[in-house]
């Protein structure tokens, strides 16, 4: 696609503009090659550790994918940069925790935390997902609908909403991280890997189901067909008599629902943490830009890349610089933008 663009522009400018990209790409590819070589050497020296952190990275990628798939759905279809997406994630965890706390009714004098049953995990999960989905629709209808097409204004509105949610969360929920209790055994023994967190595997499984489910919805249903058409040309879809507003509301419902789901899973695996909103918003942005706007496959690939980078850099970077692992995420971003400006699976708008 990118070369097609260049050939239409053609001429000297095109050639001159492309040359530095090539040099940059070669440089970045060399860095990528060296890091892969480094990981390979380290992996050979301790395969168990390698297997553990690879699985850590993949399970983390599962969580990232669930958050980012909702984000990319909204972004791709409506061109709304929903800066409150991270807040949806955080609120999802908080709501589930509060509902579960009511259900388990822990004895304040007891030291042991109560174990959740299947019901006391699933009910908070569903309540939380639906509440977040409804919140998403309300925000879309009340604040964003009348600003359709004004991308900057919509981004600013959602930033404002995310700030309000964050401050309210710290005021009413406090800043100490809390864990959502789960009804499964904490860890199981896996071949090669050894002991591994059960909920992390569940999270990966859910992510795969979400991915397959979304793919089926997008490729097999009428809603999916409209979404696909809408990603390419909203105005034409509207002109063909489709009630695009209903589709937008549905997309927001689904996107927020997924953020809520991820919030609950993240709260069970890591913890419900007040500062997760900014972190997961940033992760969603990076994944969507790396993978390509509106592309589900792109979100999956972006999530896996990010999860693995996160995991490998914690372990394989020298101790003095592990702190800077997050920078690698941005190297990835620069690399992808340099090679494929629309993202790995993106297309020109």
């Amino acid at each position: 696609m990118a070369s097609g663009v260049d050939s239409t522009v053609g001429g000297l400018n095109g050639v001159m503009a492309r040359a530095p990209w090539r040099a940059g790409s070669i440089f970045l590819l060399a860095i990528l090659g060296l890091s892969l070589l480094g990981i390979g050497i380290q992996a050979a020296s301790d395969p168990t550790l390698f297997a553990q952190i690879t699985l850590n990275g993949l399970t983390l990628a599962g969580l990232y994918f669930i958050v980012a798939s909702g984000f990319t759905l909204i972004f791709g279809l409506m061109r709304v940069v929903n800066m409150a997406h991270g807040s949806f994630y955080m609120l999802g965890g908080i709501i589930a925790y509060l509902v579960q706390e009511r259900m388990l009714n822990p004895d304040p004098t007891s030291f042991a935390l109560p174990e959740a049953t299947v019901t006391s995990f699933v009910v908070p999960l569903v309540v939380s997902m639906l509440s977040i989905a409804l919140l998403g629709v309300v925000i879309q209808q009340v604040f964003l609908r009348w600003n359709q097409g004004q991308e900057l204004r919509q981004a600013l509105i959602t930033i404002a909403i995310s700030i309000i949610i964050a401050d309210q969360a710290v005021a009413h929920f406090g800043g100490i991280a809390k864990e959502i209790s789960v009804p499964v055994r904490k860890s199981i023994e896996l071949p090669i890997v050894g002991m591994f967190g059960t909920m992390r595997l569940v999270m990966l499984l859910v992510a795969i189901l979400v991915g397959v489910g979304l793919l089926l919805i997008i490729s097999r249903t009428r809603f999916g067909m409209i979404v696909r058409a809408g990603v390419d040309d909203r105005h034409m879809v509207s002109a063909l008599g489709v009630n695009i507003q209903r589709v937008f509301a549905a997309a927001f419902f689904l996107g927020a629902l997924l953020a809520g789901l991820a919030g609950v899973l993240g709260g069970a695996v890591n913890s419900v943490n007040k500062s997760d909103d900014g972190k997961f918003l940033l992760i969603s942005l990076v994944i969507v830009i790396v993978g390509g706007m509106g592309s589900l496959t792109g979100a999956a690939v972006g999530a896996v890349l990010l999860g693995l980078i996160d995991s490998y850099s914690d372990v394989y970077l020298p101790d003095a610089v592990t702190n800077y692992g997050v920078l690698l995420t941005f190297f990835l971003l620069v690399f992808v933008l340099a090679v494929r400006p629309y993202g790995l699976f993106g297309r020109a708008a």
């Binding site: 042991a112 864990e179 830009i289 702190n323």
Partner: protein
């Protein structure tokens, strides 16, 4: 507009989004404007007329803590500590005993008719040094504060202490920030810390690990900033002085949420870990550690610093941390006269806060506000000569929950430290190390390297004086 322009448009839009995202992430999504101004309180701001009548400089006391960020939840506790000291020692009355934010009225310098004007446009920081610094500047340069109590956290303390050097007429008393450099290295003559530093809070831990638990090698894990550096420095220095070895020091970034790969990397062939991952990170680390290693995997294998012995963290982690040994500046299970007097003072001022007596955030502000009041008493409420007031302050002995506390030549507290074991009630004190000073038995001085990722080095010999008495 041609297609190429469009491409550049999307590219720059993407970059713009990333920048906005980074800003949002850096601010934790909550960089609202300082709520300090909004925190208007009905406290006494007009009571300074009597002082003015005497022709002396008005005494204006300011407060700087964290109302946002990782330590934002402790805002009320720090205010409660500050105002409890004013109620107990300066005769003030709480406006609302259920809400420390409402402030107090009628604070006077004891034994005089000089009023203490309390500035209620509180300094609100978020754990970041630049924010603490700008709030300190606002209070000093715009609000006219001449005694400032604060800040709360490590890097903030270093920044404010450096700023203190430029304001010799203003007297600064630390809140609860615990980095070693703040007093040992910066040495601002007008910055006081009537509470020990983070390294002092680990006195006794290294000897307990080596002599009692029989550890010979250990790995440390802590957030990558000055306070965990200081705490780790205390543990490393004492453990190594006895002959222990540190195999590795691991520093995850502050704000990390997924520690699973760090945990996978922890070596098996090590006797134990010193854990100083803070705030929300403690909960996540312990949950992920026990997920892989089992619910009782911390006992005997992990020792902790100030975070793991914090009552709020213990409540969240439950039985997983039961039996874990940690260093603590406060004994939550104490019943002696000092502790009773201290907790009764909290109960009298703010009944609902008494559960926070063992919370260092409350105690740190209590100690320092009390020192300021007693210093004012020593100069009869006359602070025209700031140097004389500061000299008097350096000689003050305050009454705290752990007994009398004084400061050393660097204006840093000398006091006891507690090695505690987490149990169902909170913590149980195993033993007390009396009279720990900032030099940590001679290990640290103004000439030793700043505690950081690699310092202090692990060197055998010259154990601190208390180490020999800590045995099985």
């Amino acid at each position: 507009m041609n297609v190429r322009d469009k491409r550049w448009g999307w590219l720059s839009a993407g970059l713009l989004i990333i920048i906005i995202g980074i800003v949002a992430a850096a601010c934790g999504g909550s960089d609202s404007s300082s709520s300090s101004a909004a925190d208007t309180a009905a406290a006494d701001t007009a009571a300074a007329d009597t002082a003015a009548a005497a022709g002396e400089k008005k005494i204006v006391m300011g407060f700087l803590s964290n109302c946002e960020g990782p330590f934002g939840p402790f805002w009320d506790a720090t205010l409660a500590g500050y105002y409890t000291a004013l109620v107990q020692f300066a005769g003030a009355t709480p406006v609302d005993p259920a809400d420390p934010k409402a402030g107090v009225t009628g604070a006077m310098v004891p034994g005089t008719d000089v009023a203490i004007e309390l500035n209620t446009n509180y300094g609100c920081s978020d754990d970041k040094a630049d924010k603490a610094l700008s709030e300190a500047k606002r209070l000093v340069e715009q609000e006219g504060v001449n005694i400032l109590i604060g800040p709360l956290s490590g890097d903030e303390g270093i920044a404010v202490a450096n700023y203190a050097k430029t304001q010799p007429d203003v007297t600064f008393l630390n809140g609860i920030s615990g980095a070693q450099d703040t007093t040992l290295k910066v040495q601002a003559p007008n910055f006081f810390r009537f509470f020990s530093d983070g390294a002092q809070w680990t006195a006794g831990l290294g000897a307990y690990a080596y002599n009692v638990l029989g550890w010979r090698n250990a790995v440390t894990i802590g957030d990558d900033y000055s306070f965990p550096y200081t705490q780790t420095a205390g543990f490393v220095s004492e453990f190594c002085s006895l002959g222990g070895k540190i195999d590795e020091r691991i520093w995850p970034a502050l704000g990390e949420t997924d520690y699973s790969s760090y945990i996978a990397k922890l070596p098996d062939n090590v006797d134990g870990f010193f854990l100083d991952v803070g705030g929300t990170g403690t909960v996540q680390f312990v949950n992920q550690f026990t997920e892989v290693n089992g619910n009782d995997s911390l006992q005997g294998k992990v020792m902790g610093g100030a975070f793991i012995s914090n009552p709020a963290i213990i409540k969240e982690l439950g039985a997983k941390v039961e039996g874990v040994v940690a260093g603590s500046a406060l004994p939550s299970d104490a019943t002696d006269a000092n502790w009773t007097a201290y907790s009764d003072a909290i109960k009298a001022a703010y009944p609902e806060m008494v559960g926070n007596a063992a919370n260092i955030f409350l105690a740190g502000y209590y100690n320092n506000a009390q020192a300021a009041i007693l210093g004012l008493q020593a100069v009869g409420g006359n602070i025209d000569d700031a140097a004389a007031f500061q000299a008097a302050l350096a000689g003050v002995e305050i009454a705290t929950g752990v007994g009398p506390v004084t400061v050393d030549a660097n204006r840093n507290a000398v006091g006891p430290n507690y090695v505690v074991e987490v149990n169902a009630m909170g913590t149980k004190t195993l033993f007390t190390v009396e009279g720990v000073d900032q030099s940590f038995g001679g290990a640290f001085s103004a000439d030793t390297p700043n505690p950081d990722r690699d310092n202090p080095e692990c060197v055998a010999g010259n154990p601190p004086p208390w180490a020999a008495s800590i045995t099985k």
